[in-house]
Symmetry: C2
Subunit: 350 residues, 2 copies
Amino acid sequence: MTQFIGTSDLGALVRRIGIENFLVGLATYIEADFRHWESFEKSARLASHSRDGVIELMPASDGQLYAMKYVNGHPGNTREGKLTVTAFGVLADVRTGYPLLVSEMTLLTALRTAAVSALAARTLAAQHPHTLALIGTGAQAEFQALAFKALLHIHEVRLFDTDPEALDKACRNLAGSGLAVRRCASVAEAVRGADIVTTATATKARVHVLTPDLIEPGMHLNAIGGDCPGKTELHPDIVARASVFVEFEPQTRIEGEIQQMPPDFPVTELWRVLAGTATGRRSASEVTIFDSVGFAVEDFSALRFVRDLDRSEGHDIDLLPELDDPKDLFSLMLPPMPVPAIAREEMLSS
Amino acid sequence: MTQFIGTSDLGALVRRIGIENFLVGLATYIEADFRHWESFEKSARLASHSRDGVIELMPASDGQLYAMKYVNGHPGNTREGKLTVTAFGVLADVRTGYPLLVSEMTLLTALRTAAVSALAARTLAAQHPHTLALIGTGAQAEFQALAFKALLHIHEVRLFDTDPEALDKACRNLAGSGLAVRRCASVAEAVRGADIVTTATATKARVHVLTPDLIEPGMHLNAIGGDCPGKTELHPDIVARASVFVEFEPQTRIEGEIQQMPPDFPVTELWRVLAGTATGRRSASEVTIFDSVGFAVEDFSALRFVRDLDRSEGHDIDLLPELDDPKDLFSLMLPPMPVPAIAREEMLSS
């Protein structure tokens, strides 16, 4: 049987374990997979574009497990109360090709994005960061705040969004989180004196959410909103002066902040820093950028983590037939055999 | 909510409707989709090869619906009582990107393969065929026999397999089908005088299941076992002298019987015959071949057909979140709100 984890199952699972514990565990899995990055089969996404959006399939395999994420992006969905981006995923056994797990991934992607952000910041930020500025308080905001609290022991989060309702929502959801939450009136107010800045804004254009005058020495910028062609958040001069780290360079060149830069602009893949083959931050004063667009290996890690958790949430689904004789597929078309009375009694008493 | 149809659901659905009715309905959907073939976005499969097998993703979209099939091929699986090929699929709404249906497709692929075979034969075979020879009585055999009975009103089926147990299984499963079933001792005995010959053998090599001496004028050959590089069933002289019809030429050149032929060997895509823009059979005496390898549009049709059926089988799964505020994904991490007493009473009484 194949395991199924729906959205309510995943919500219940995270609540039972505790979201911060979940994020820490997830980051551990992502880090482990990033450290053996070269053993992964990495393909381009398979995208189907239409007038209203895109449907993408994102596979990744390390030769033992195979993961596939289905993800859509439909900006107009919010007009009818639907989500712009939803996702689900499948984890399979490479040796047999059998799916092991089908899971919702709308929530799981939000969790893994936050875990990757915090993992990158723990690797790249200056020591002992205290304050996170969060520019853009949409669906990702609270996950970011809690991942930075759990992995980097951030004390304070400063929030800004151009939409006051989104700002209210994030402040409300983070009340009681143990973080000092500051509602800011501008990007500048949020960023001033912050150790780490996450940009997670929604505008589908090349905008300058951050400008060079706002950037202080030693800051770590976690740029996650610029994640598709034509969508960036950082002024190019910020990027030009910083050390830039990416997930998978060929993909980030097209989708990330560095789409603004020349094709030979130097970047370092994060996995190399984690594996010890590349240098991360070089000085306390340099500005580091994690130019994150999301990558299939992170989804692989997230599905692997959920599968390994000791849990009661979820249930089995019969996605595949179980046959005594693999050549007798047709037997599934025949009426189920009546269970003999003796066997039935055994089943009831066992 | 997303609909889920498991293997037992699909079995129950087919039994309730009747397998022949199901095959006829499915063929109608496939024919309709083949007739507007040019409106489909057709991609290459996205394959992940490993030592033991392959996992493939097969997407297709007509601009309104999007279908994706996950299918594995692992020949060694039978050693541990598992199937060589299993599959499941997803049907989604292109406008929103939301998945509508997740379905098992191991059974459904067997059904659609048989429906396509019979549809092609109804289009290409000489008039009033009476007898089907089935060479290879593995997992596909009974589906073939019943599809040809339902769509072409075949009276007699002649069965041959090198594995006597597989032959017994097919004879047993087809007893009571209304077909005259003849167990044959050789390929030649099965093929002699048959109007249509289906080859569905398993050997992963270039073998000659059929040789030119066995072929009679006017026969229609339905070659479905030769479906991957290095695996063919027909002697090349048979192919050279016949009119050959395929699903999607670029794929069949690599996977089908015509991988034995020069790259410019003429073939006709079946959809053109169904759409009336190409000629099928030209005379009562010519030999026609449907060189079938399976194509994503057929899986699209199968999922669309199952979705449209009036049925009680299957159940809803919460693969995607439902949110009042699409920016408040985090609300799913919070404990469920207790239902106020008055609302609870209303829910109970409604």
